[in-house]
């Protein structure tokens, strides 16, 4: 152990230098890294001040209300309500995917996961929008969503809030809240139900069997 006061002082000064240099290098590396975070951005907008959308704006096929909803599902619904976002169940999303409007851009799907996960498998025809790097795709996705009648945003599902963040990004970008929906079950639930999944780029035509 340090044997004298001067040793202790030297170690403390050394540690202070390590901390200062480390933090400086850390923030500089983040700045130059293509995956770096924007320090001034709020990645988790609460959106609590957004007024919830009136029920009449929900025009997709209604599903039976599950009175035995699990605590996790209830928590998810409450979370979306707090952010002024509308939730869709899996059967509603399936209906929308089969809807002819999903082929002419009036129903749009947005995948709010990172590019690697998107490439591994997404809802067929879904646009990619990583909410942590919106500068990459927002410019392309926003006009499409503005022109659409319904926009369905999803991520992994469950605790994943990336779909909320992406939906709020779109809403802040001018997409009316009335046509924005979040598929709470996300791709995990979608794949578990063996629903169609497209791999690679959007409209690549490559399908994979969901497991």
């Amino acid at each position: 152990m340090p044997s004298s006061k001067s040793d202790i002082r030297a170690i403390l000064i050394e540690a202070a230098i390590v901390v200062i240099a480390g933090l400086g290098i850390g923030l500089a590396a983040n700045k130059v890294s293509p995956r770096g975070l924007a320090l001034s951005r709020n990645y988790f907008p609460a959106g609590a001040n957004q007024s919830p959308v009136a029920p009449r704006q929900l025009q997709v096929a209604p599903v039976a209300v599950d009175t035995n909803e699990s605590p996790a599902a209830a928590e998810l619904s409450e979370r979306l309500r707090d952010k002024g976002l509308q939730e869709l169940k899996r059967s509603q999303v399936e209906t929308l995917l089969r809807d002819p409007r999903s082929r002419d851009g009036r129903v749009v799907f947005v995948d709010a996961r990172n590019p690697d996960d998107y490439q591994a498998g997404h809802v067929p025809g879904a646009y990619e929008l990583d909410p942590y790097h919106p500068d990459r795709e927002l410019g392309n996705v926003l006009p499409v969503c503005q022109a659409a009648e319904k926009v369905v945003v999803y991520c992994t599902g469950g605790d994943c809030e990336d779909s909320d963040t992406a939906a709020i990004l779109l809403r802040d970008g001018g997409v009316p809240g009335g046509k924005l929906f979040v598929y709470g079950g996300g791709i995990t639930e979608w794949q578990a139900a063996h629903l169609p999944v497209e791999t690679g780029a959007r409209n690549s035509g490559m399908r994979s069997d969901s497991k």
């Binding site: 340090p2 040793d7 050394e14 590396a29 983040n30």
Partner: protein, 170 residues
Amino acid sequence: MTADQAMWRRKAFEAAAVLARWALGALFIYMGLKKAMHPEEFLKLTRQYEMVHSPFLLNAIAAGLPWFEAFCGALLLLGIAVRGTALTLVAVLVPFTWLVWRRALALQALRAIPFCAVKFDCGCGAGEVFICGKLAENILLILVSCWLLSGVGRAFCARHALFSGKSGKI
């Protein structure tokens, strides 16, 4: 014990310390870079601890800490400012271990399961881990850091100390 035996024991002890320094350094580089490759994932995990409420501070922690870890790992591996780095790691690991423990307690209460059955991604860079194993690992890392803080593992150091202390040991 003969003089030879004592010398060999000292050498073995020093070699173990050097290996411990390299292992600790390599581990921090690996964990740091793994997190730095996906800072948004680390940001989400950092947020779970509810340490800070300012988005700027949260982003700064999530953006800077992985690189900071890798930097400390590189210093240990190269043998630069070893004792200052070891002290820094102790100062980071102790509060982090407390945060992990506190979060595990909260999850245990929420899931109503035994403490050691709690499994979650603590943001350590190793994905989902069982809490008891994680706490044991962190305690081991703290002990190794304290050992290096005592001044061992000087062989193969580019510059073990940045400054010279009065005792001449530094």
